[in-house]
């Protein structure tokens, strides 16, 4: 009864997981690691206050996106604007502009079954998640921001150190 159980070492350990630039899942869904880009976390009491400081219109409802800015909370936005956009730092103003360009990466999940792949670990009803909508949520235990750019393409924002796990968890999804 007390025989020691001999557990062989794993072929792949969690520490061996590494990001890749592309992957094709068996169901035809592709994963693509987006190149680095400038991104900011924007905070203010209202969309108007923020818009006035950064000189751009920002979405007002949680979940809405507008020209590369997603409203994540009543006082929080994620700016992922076109390359070359400069967001002023709002010094002295009642806003918070923080450069988070290097904080995370974006994994692009694309294909007819993209929603189903994400549903493997995300508890939201992504089939009914409107195109153009973005939200913070989780994939299993990892916090992500899911942004549906097109019906068959989601962008998944994730903090850097969680990205290898997420990448391989997505790759492991089995459709059918």
């Amino acid at each position: 009864m007390s025989d020691a159980i001999a557990i062989p070492p794993l072929a792949v350990a969690g520490t061996d997981l590494a990001l890749e630039s592309n992957a094709v899942l068996p169901g035809g869904v592709t994963l693509t690691l987006e190149p680095p880009a400038s991104r900011w976390s924007l905070r203010a009491r209202t969309a108007e206050a923020l818009g006035a400081v950064i000189g751009r219109a920002v979405p007002t409802r949680i979940g809405e996106t507008l020209d590369g800015i997603a409203c994540l909370g009543p006082d929080e936005w994620l700016a992922d604007p076109p390359a070359g956009t400069v967001v002023p730092d709002g010094a002295g103003q009642p806003v918070s502009v923080v450069d988070v360009s290097a904080r995370g990466v974006v994994i692009r999940v694309e294909g007819a079954s993209a929603a189903r792949v994400l549903c493997s670990g995300c508890p939201l009803d992504l089939e009914r998640f409107a195109v153009g909508r973005a939200t913070r949520t989780v994939f299993e235990t990892v916090e992500v921001i899911v942004w549906r750019e097109q019906a068959d393409m989601f962008r998944v924002f994730v903090w850097r150190s969680f990205a290898p796990w997420l990448w391989h968890a997505l790759k492991a999804v089995q459709l059918g």
């Binding site: 949680i62 994540l72 939200t135 913070r136 989780v138």
Partner: protein, 90 residues
């Protein structure tokens, strides 16, 4: 897994996006130094723990990030309602 209505997102969201925050409507005293030891102990440690309607805080941590208040029945584990932080007790 419960569904919890976030009063900020105005949407039912899965429980795994939320973190429980203890009993609601326990405001931090504006001048803690003015409180007796007993009153401070009460503020720090004494909670109602009712059977039935419980006013409690939740945070939509993995969503909009906001703390809010909820009324949950501790017997049935059902949410009666949720409302924004700062709103009067319901």
């Amino acid at each position: 897994m419960l569904l919890i209505r976030c009063p900020y997102c105005e949407e039912d969201r899965p429980e795994v996006e939320f973190v429980y925050g203890g009993e609601a409507h326990i405001a931090r005293p504006l001048d803690p130094a003015a409180l007796s030891d007993q009153d401070w102990e009460h503020y720090l440690y004494i909670r109602r723990n009712p059977r039935g309607r419980h006013h409690e805080r939740w945070r939509h941590t993995h969503g909009c990030g906001r703390f809010f208040n909820a009324v949950r029945d501790t017997v049935s584990d059902r949410f009666e309602q949720t409302y924004k932080a700062g709103e009067a007790r319901r």
